[in-house]
Amino acid sequence: MTAAASHYSYWITVLLMVAGLYIVIARGNLVKKLIGLSIFQTSVYLLYIAPGKLIGGTPPILAEGFRLYSNPLPHVLILTAIVVGVATLALGLAIVVRIREAYGSIEEDEILAADRAAERRPAESR
């Protein structure tokens, strides 16, 4: 197998990374942006986890007859990163709920238009 094919997990990582980032930039819907952000973060999980696995390697438990072990550290790191990702997503969605309550919309352009309209009549929104 060529290097490009055997390291297919990297291609998936890159694809997820770019797709996620594109969604964040291109979408105006605040929830969709958060979905993109989550996909972007997920690509990092794969970036860490995939190289930790050795083909033919076992979990790192010392036992007779096993000499090849996979690296457990990336899993631990990514458990932490997943917790961070979940917290970020939860907080992001909570803020979107509050934005919906305050503006009545979760479309970025409508919210910005509402802000511009409020700035033209400064007295009431402040």
Partner: protein, 490 residues
């Protein structure tokens, strides 16, 4: 309290205080816990600073797992310097927050504010104290997540959108950072920064390492609001509660600058960053553009808080300008400006917080003739403004002086002239305040309720006094920065 545990204690105190404040469920005990924890961290940071100045770096193995396997907390001259700034500003802002946040937030939810404040302080201190690259990411996210919520607490509904935008950009920044760390981990098999630096010296020019450098640079630059990655900053600073703006402006971006310094000089090393890659030219170009555009944009703002937010972007440009010189003078200037700008901008935002309390917000229409109704606040803004400009006798002068020295040392006379010339734009935007507050007649919208309460005025004036004090007595700020610069260039 034993001395070798100080690197952990300085972080643990506010980290433990956060759930305690949460369990207190009432504003007053939560505030007392938060203030006590910040004060404790400040004392511990000062003790650490004394210790590392005389005895060299202090290392603490978390859970007694020796580095590089376990997480190491490592405090050297540079991190102690930043720890003192962060915990010091946190201690000064905490009493201010009592009066300011009580007025701006709902009373029943006030205890949550103090819990988040503790978390944010703990995150920033942890980023500074840790010697582990992944642990730094975790603390970065603790600080960031709490600051998103703190910003969203602002009264204006636009605070929500600012917090959302900051959340998206901040998360992209942190994720870029963690991608960089992942690539470095793949190449070196370690997460301990000192160990990483030693192992990188053989393979520093390989493509994954260069990619890691690029990812970390972009990620951290988003966090420190380097032009053109500053877009989250003006709105976040403008609509956040006053105490939050003052604290974040004085510490948040500064700690990110520290992370950049740590990675450029402590992990990658000067050879790869400055000789093989044109990082110093890139930083120089971005800094120059940041200083000019952000200063000019600041000139046209209709709101003093927003003006100061843009001025922050310009001032961060001066810090990165010092880093781009990569000489002893340049780095000294960067580190000392990090400190001086922290206290100066902290003072300004605290004073503006007082204005916002009385006037609702700090738009220039509310500042007409302000010197007559709030003389102490106006005087403080002018003095701290002079420090922002870099007038002799203020802290800002000291950092500009070293920047100019660094530029001349590098033979770049145009840069020295540029630094002086751009300070004139700062004169112009501070003059706008002087014109409104001192020269204009008393306006109809100007608050007439008198000075801000003493609980807000005293902390603000402590920082104003500090920004004058460090203009005369540079024994702590400049010598600390010079030692840090020497350490970075080793």
């Amino acid at each position: 309290m034993s001395a070798e545990q100080l690197p952990a204690l300085v972080v643990v105190a506010p980290l433990v205080a956060a759930p305690v404040a949460l369990l207190a469920r009432r504003a007053l005990p939560a505030w007392m816990v938060a203030t006590a924890a910040c004060g404790f961290s400040f004392v511990a940071a000062l003790a650490l600073a004394v210790q590392v100045t005389s005895g060299g770096a202090v290392s603490y193995a978390l859970g007694s797992w020796p580095p590089p396997w376990g997480i190491e907390y490592r405090v050297d001259v540079l991190s102690a310097f930043v720890l003192v700034l962060v915990s010091g500003v946190a201690t000064v802002v905490a009493p201010f927050a009592w009066a300011s946040a009580s007025a701006e937030l709902e009373r029943e939810r006030l205890y949550l504010f103090y819990a988040l404040y503790c978390l944010c302080v703990a995150g920033l201190l942890g980023m500074t104290a840790t010697g582990d690259a992944f642990n730094l990411f975790v603390f970065m996210e603790i600080a960031s997540l709490s600051s998103y919520v703190l910003i969203a607490l602002g009264r204006d509904r636009r605070a929500l959108l600012s917090a959302y935008q900051y959340l998206v950009l901040g998360t992209i920044g942190a994720t870029f950072y963690v991608i960089g760390i992942g690539l470095l981990y793949l190449m070196t098999g370690t997460l301990n920064m000192a160990d990483m630096a030693a192992r990188l010296s053989d393979i520093s020019s390989t493509r994954p390492v260069l990619a890691a450098l690029a990812f970390i640079t972009v990620g951290v630059s988003l966090k420190l609001a380097l032009f053109p990655l500053h877009l989250w900053l003006p709105n976040a600073y403008t609509y956040a509660p006053s105490a939050v703006t003052a604290f974040l402006a004085a510490t948040g971006t500064k700690v990110s600058v520290y992370v950049l310094l740590r990675f450029y000089f402590g992990v990658f090393g000067t050879r790869i960053v400055l000789e093989e890659l044109p990082m110093s030219q890139i930083l120089l170009a971005l800094s120059v553009v940041a200083i000019v555009t952000a200063s000019l944009v600041a000139l046209w703002q209709a709101d003093l808080k927003r003006l100061l937010a843009y001025s922050s972007i310009a001032q961060i440009g001066y810090i990165t300008l010092g880093i781009s010189m990569a000489s002893r003078e340049g780095l000294t200037a960067a580190v000392v400006h990090l400190f001086n700008h922290g206290i100066t901008k902290g003072a300004l935002f605290l004073l503006v917080g007082g204005v916002a309390l009385r006037a609702g917000h700090a738009g220039f229409d509310r500042l007409q003739g302000l010197a007559r109704t709030m003389p102490l606040t106006s005087l403080g803004i002018v003095i701290a403004g002079l420090s922002l400009i870099g007038t002799p006798g203020t802290a800002g002068f000291v950092s500009k002086w070293y920047l100019v020295l660094g530029a001349i040392e590098a033979g770049r006379w145009w840069l020295a002239a540029f630094i002086v010339a751009t300070s004139l734009i700062a004169v112009a935007y501070i003059w706008r305040f002087v014109e409104a507050a001192y020269l204009a007649p008393l306006g109809g919208a100007t608050p007439r309720a008198g000075e801000a309460p003493a609980a807000m005025l005293v902390p603000a004036w402590i920082l104003v006094a500090a920004s004058v004090w460090f203009g005369f007595d540079t024994s702590y700020s400049v010598q600390g920065a010079a030692r840090a610069a020497a350490l970075l260039l080793q």
